[in-house]
């Protein structure tokens, strides 16, 4: 049974301002769905429409196979965790967690039992009598989650629940959220702008931009098989590097001519590996212009295989991240990042030859920015 189905959902403000456009999604039971995208892409709005906090301008919403466009929030049997915690300041932690049960007139002993269970699970037992103002950010967030999960809702919606926490706490809560999901086995729809949260938590990720779904897939597939340049740049940290150039066929070989200093330089011509070549062969490429996408970790200081291509660059900054070093260099007037193992000697302000492994590179259309390498998994299955 599908937990949530959105069919051609639109959200329109005023006359023509579409915040969400033609949103189609089917969420199955026990899934952990993450909506991710830059701010203003309509992810929160979509979540609020599912919760019933925003009206749906057009389209249909089904919750547990029931048409739900016009149901009141409380009739939807879901819980919502807000970014700002939304705790009731005049009530103690205990009362905050118990509130939704009390409203539903559950008997006292049952409420008490459940509150203690939830508090135990979230490590809040010691602070039950306290007021929210006496809690730390992490504890407040846990109370908010406690308030949401006490009813054991089938659907749990979370709107950037971790963005008010500091980095360390965020990592910790991320792990706890994953545990909670495993334990409660409910469906979670989670909104975030942080792609690391999306990648680590989600069973499926919905990448959105300007109110339109770009791609829905598992974290791994999104990373390996992005549908377009936006998804490729949004998923993965540091972000993918993009080079402008032209596809050239020479006999049996296919090359990517890198545009340097606004002319095509013979020296920076990459021989494309067979995998890429096959994907591009039957495609029509307008003026042969394309964008090559290379993940930062595909650069290296040492040549690893004969097929490796290379560029000569000027490294102007470096960042040590423990296990990796990010080397920053400019190419085609844009800043690019190479991620190399920490034992590499990266010198700042020096000329370096960077080797590139192009086996998993992406090639994007210059105008539509779609990925020529994208394999539609649905088509794959059919075949």
């Amino acid at each position: 049974m599908a937990e949530v189905v959105l069919k051609n959902v639109y959200k329109t403000y005023g006359e023509n301002v579409n915040v969400v456009k033609d949103f189609n999604l089917e969420v199955k039971e026990k899934e952990f769905i993450v909506f991710v995208g830059p701010s203003g892409c309509g992810k929160s709005t979509t979540l609020r429409m599912i919760a019933g906090l925003e009206e749906i301008s057009d389209g249909e919403l089904y919750l547990q196979d029931e048409f739900a466009n016009f149901l009141e929030p409380k009739e939807r049997n879901l819980a919502f965790v807000f970014q700002s915690y939304a705790l009731y300041p005049t009530m103690s932690v205990y009362e905050n967690i118990a509130f939704s049960l009390r409203v539903r007139k559950v008997n006292k002993d049952e409420v008490d039992k459940r509150v203690r269970e939830v508090a135990e699970m979230l490590g809040l037992t010691a602070v039950l009598p306290n007021r929210p103002k006496d809690l730390s950010g992490g504890q407040k967030q846990r109370v908010a989650i406690g308030n949401a999960i006490i009813r054991n809702p089938k659907l749990l919606l979370m709107d950037e629940p971790l963005s008010n926490l500091d980095a360390k706490l965020r990592t910790q809560m991320r792990v706890e959220l994953a545990k909670i999901h495993e334990k409660l086995q409910n469906t979670i729809i989670y909104v975030t702008h942080d792609q690391i949260e999306a990648m680590t938590l989600g069973t499926r990720i919905v990448v959105m931009k300007d109110g339109i779904i770009q791609q829905v897939d598992s974290p791994k597939k999104l990373y390996q098989n992005p549908i377009n340049r936006f998804v490729a740049s949004f998923i993965g940290s540091p972000s993918m590097n993009f080079m402008d150039g032209r596809i050239q066929i020479n006999g049996d070989h296919m090359y990517f001519d890198v545009l340097t200093k606004s002319r095509f330089d013979e020296k920076s011509k990459f021989l494309l590996p067979n995998k890429v070549k096959r994907a591009l062969e039957d495609r029509f490429i307008r003026g042969n212009e394309a964008i090559l996408g290379i993940r930062p970790e595909k650069f290296s200081y040492k040549q690893k295989s004969e097929n490796d291509q290379y560029i000569d660059v000027w490294v102007h900054a470096r960042e040590l991240l423990g296990s990796d070093i990010y080397a920053y260099f400019e190419f085609q007037g844009k800043q690019m990042i190479a991620s190399v193992p920490a034992d590499t000697e990266v010198e700042v302000d020096s000329h370096v030859r960077l080797y590139i492994d192009l086996t998993d590179a992406c090639v994007f259309d210059k105008e539509t920015e779609e990925n020529y390498m994208y394999i539609d998994s649905r088509e794959e299955k059919r075949a």
Binding site: L53, P73, K74, F82, S84, A86, Y88, T90, F99, S100
Partner: protein, 311 residues
Amino acid sequence: MSETVVTDTVTTSAIKGRDAAMSMAVAEAKERQKIKQKHRKIKNMSLRILANTLMALIVLCPLLYAISVAFMPSGELFTMDMNILPKHPTLVNFAQALVKIPLAKFVINSFLVAGLITIGQIVSCSLAAFSFSFLEYKGKDLLFMLVMATMMVPGEAVIISNYLTVSGLGWLDTYKGLIIPYLTSAMGIFLFRQFYLSFPISLYESAKIDGCSNLRFVLKILIPLTKSAIGAMAVYTFINAWNMYMWPLLVTGSDQMRTVQIGIGMLNSVDAQSISLMIAGVVMIILPSISIFIVGQKQLIRGMFSGAVKG
């Protein structure tokens, strides 16, 4: 070898001595500064108290004089001497005022009217403000602007039409006529709305998802959070209602319905000579409003200002 050791000890002790002297000097300087600061503080404080006392005296002058007059026998008031304080203080004026007019009845009326108006305004204004700040509906902003616009119409301008309405309903000389026209106020709605706007909307949304009804949200969450606004509103409204003059004068005719302010006016007409009698009455009836103000002044100030500044 030993020599160097000796010189070393000498130098260290010299350094120690110098350090001690320096730290003494520093301590002294600190002490001096402290005393200076203290003096300055005392000076500032006393100046401020003096200025405040002077201001208070000027502001309170009429009130203090009224109290003084209330204790004067009426003979003392009508002399050519400058009698600021009563020479033969007496309570006769108070006793007379209580006998000549049914002051107790007036006080009860006033309490009833002011109390009910206060409760009514708190209920109606908080609910209206709730709808203006938390609910979404068409024409909300326009409606709010209309409400605000009524603040710009002086009460005197509509008093005749109000009178005609009330008399048309047959409410003249009844509590209904005194109370109902004042059961809500734009000022109160505005005050509460400003207060509510400082709460995050997610609080309301969260309650809605928890299954909380609007009324329950107001009662259980909003009201406990807005105690100071309610306090401010209560003090402000009660004092205003207590001091109402024009409207009760228009709509009441009998002693049964009169409020204190009109009652005191009666003292003037019954015996025009007895100013001291009237002033004694006035002193008695300002006691409730002053005491309410004293009790609620902290609430009043906090409530009036906390809505203005977020956070």
